[in-house]
């Protein structure tokens, strides 16, 4: 993976030193909170319901064992022994104290990490396919491009005060695991007629209070044009984006108000101006960066141990069937380590779990680790002969749950258990859904299903693109949960449809059960997933299951 150059190191160290001075001046009274708040937010430090929260970037979800151990150290020394992996491939510490934060940032800098641009109206952490560099369906590893974008966007003087935050996602595979159509810019690698790799550029996707699927402004962008083109998009947005209204400031609104054709024309015009200014330094840098992402030296060895364990051990087989994904080297597998043990907080890992993952990555995974936006941890390169030993080690640490892609593999934002913006809790809803369906033993019967839960309209939990989405709201001083169905975050992205009136906290899990019992009754067989069934039958049967038959007659 990419290691910091002297330039990166000096930049991050200088930012730590600046922030140390800012915290000192805040504590001695030289800075007011109004003056200090934008400075702490530039360094990822929020003030939440019960404490400060520090959001640390894990660029494009790639992290090495040394960094993972440092996160564990930080969790033990300055927090409460755990960290929370988020839907944007960040990690959040929920309990730091203000005077300790400069030391925490220093400890991050020691391992080439930082919290810069994890908040504020700037280009945020660039997210990527968590199977990048390993997936069987991949055209090219997207991470060198993501790293190029990270370096370009970090402290970019033109883009530090955008109308609003700006999120870029990138995937090197046609199967979109990075939700590119719901980002400000989505980059999806495709091939043209000549077989060359390039990007489909999608602009103006986003969730939040106005969910929109992005518009393709370029079907095929040659990879060498990436930076000038992205800069053109940002430049047009920076000029047109609305600064008068926070709720209309994201680029999705700009695209909507300007019109897709007109914005594409403006981007192309700006691109024509910018392209000649890129004299090739970006391509030289990209070539250097690429070397840092060279694949590991894959082993060549028999895979009998995996096949034997699969045949002999039903627990191992269940895990292998759900938590492994095809690797481009067929002696290897991509392993998803579930951070969703039934009843656990989605995305949380204890410091002991982090250290174990670091050890296992070194022993079995060519020292590579990824964090997914679905709040799990990935070992992208594991030789199949090592899988049984890996599974045994994971299982001993509550990390061996065989549920990836199933009902208990839920995305949930921190919600009102932590977040100052939340309007309802999300974590306990996720915990109860997971334990409830585990107790019913229906999880594997229901099959592939993505439930996503947000504790407010801002949609950090991606509820709009959940097959079943749950949105927690405050209705007259009581928690209320609205359900959407049929959302999809893949290359066939779709925004879910609201079922109708919401459900109280103690009604939401029974409501989800009614939806899923209806699905089990109406599906054409176990091969028809929930999403496929939804696309075939639509809302009516689920609405009837939720609200009774009368609801559809009234609606008609």
């Amino acid at each position: 993976m990419y290691d910091y150059t002297d330039f990166d190191e000096a930049f991050v160290r200088s930012r730590v030193a600046q922030f140390r001075g800012q915290v000192e001046r805040r504590l001695d009274g030289s800075l007011t909170e109004d003056e200090f708040r934008p400075l702490r937010l530039m360094n990822g430090l929020y003030l939440q319901l019960h404490a400060y929260m520090l959001r640390v970037a894990i660029p494009y979800g790639t992290i090495n064992p040394r960094q993972m151990r440092q996160l564990a150290m930080i969790a033990d020394r300055w927090d409460k022994g755990y960290g929370h992996f988020t839907t944007r491939q960040n990690i959040q510490f929920n309990w730091p104290k203000l005077p300790d934060v400069p030391d925490i940032l220093g400890a991050l800098a020691d391992v080439g990490m930082h919290a810069i641009q994890t908040s504020g109206n700037c280009v945020r952490n660039v997210t990527a396919d968590h199977f990048a560099g390993a997936a069987a369906d991949e055209i090219e590893d997207p991470r060198p491009y993501a790293e190029l974008l990270r370096q370009w966007s970090t402290d970019h003087p033109e883009f530090q005060f955008l109308p609003r935050k700006f999120k870029i996602a990138i995937t090197g595979a046609p199967n979109d695991r990075a939700v590119t159509r719901a980002h400000d810019i989505g980059l999806r690698m495709v091939r043209n007629d000549r077989g060359e790799a390039g990007f489909e550029v999608i602009v103006g996707g986003g969730l939040g209070r106005t969910p929109m699927i992005g518009t393709t402004v370029r079907d095929f962008l040659p990879v060498a044009d990436l930076l000038p083109y992205v800069e053109a998009v940002l430049s047009v947005y920076n000029t047109l984006g609305r600064r008068d209204n926070k709720y209309k400031a994201r680029i999705k609104i700009t695209v909507h108000e300007t019109g897709a054709d007109e914005i594409a024309r403006m981007i192309e015009a700006r691109f024509a101006e910018l392209r000649p200014l890129f004299g090739g330094a970006d391509q030289a840098l990209l070539a250097e960066i690429r070397q840092a992402f060279a694949p590991p030296a894959f082993r060549n060895a028999p895979v009998d141990a995996h096949e034997a364990a699969r045949a002999a051990d039903p627990v191992y087989r269940a895990w292998a069937d759900t938590n492994l994904a095809p690797h481009r080297n067929d002696q290897y597998a991509i392993v998803t380590i579930s951070l969703k043990a039934h009843g656990a907080t989605p995305g949380d890992a204890t410091s002991d779990q982090m250290r174990l993952i670091a050890d296992l990555a070194e022993t079995f995974g060519h020292s590579e680790i990824r964090i997914s936006h679905e709040q799990n941890v990935i070992l992208p390169h594991v030789h199949k002969s090592d899988l049984p030993a890996l599974h045994a080690a994971l299982s001993g640490a509550r990390l061996g749950t065989a549920n990836v892609g199933l009902i208990s593999d839920i995305i949930a934002c921190p919600g009102m258990d932590y977040c100052a913006l939340a309007t309802a809790r999300s974590i306990p809803v996720a915990q109860e859904i997971a334990t409830h369906f585990e107790a019913l033993k229906l999880e594997h019967d229901i099959g592939p299903l993505k439930i996503k839960i947000s504790g407010c309209i801002n949609a950090c939990g991606h509820h709009h693109v959940g097959h079943i989405g749950i949105l927690g709201l405050d209705r007259a001083g009581v928690e209320n949960y609205q359900i959407t169905l049929g959302g999809d975050g893949s290359e066939d992205a779709a925004i879910g449809e609201k079922t109708g009136p919401g459900f109280a906290y103690d009604e939401i899990v029974p409501a989800i059960e009614r939806i899923l019992r209806a699905y089990l009754d109406l599906r054409e067989g176990p091969g028809e997933t929930f999403l496929m069934a939804w696309r075939r039958v639509g809302m009516a049967p689920f609405k009837a299951a939720l609200y009774g038959e009368a609801s559809n007659r009234h609606a008609a």
Partner: protein, 101 residues
């Protein structure tokens, strides 16, 4: 004229970030029931000004609805109730601190 809903002044501490409540004797307490229950709107504004002036102690002071209870003021809204306890997924925050008292 609508009746004034009683309030407490609440904020987060600058250093620790935890939720605190302004008491009648100007202390900041981590316990909601020790807060001053303010039943007069003009007095509420005065107490909020007092809180906002303590820039080296607390951050983001605001008035939150409260009601009298047997041990002192109680929160009305569930958000404020959560702030008096801590998160529901771990025994962290005030619920842990209070276990030792």
């Amino acid at each position: 004229m609508s009746r004034f809903t009683p309030k407490v002044v609440t904020a987060n501490r600058l250093i620790e970030g935890d939720a605190v409540y302004l008491c009648a004797d100007d202390r900041w307490s981590v316990h909601h029931h020790e807060a001053e229950l303010i039943e007069d709107e003009a007095h509420a504004q005065m107490r909020l000004l007092h809180a906002n002036a303590q820039r080296g102690v607390v951050v983001g002071a605001y008035l939150a609805d409260a009601r009298p209870g047997p041990n002192g003021p109680e929160p009305v809204h569930f958000r404020e109730r959560f702030r008096t306890v801590g998160p529901s997924n771990y025994p962290h925050g005030k619920q842990a601190d209070q276990a030792h008292v």
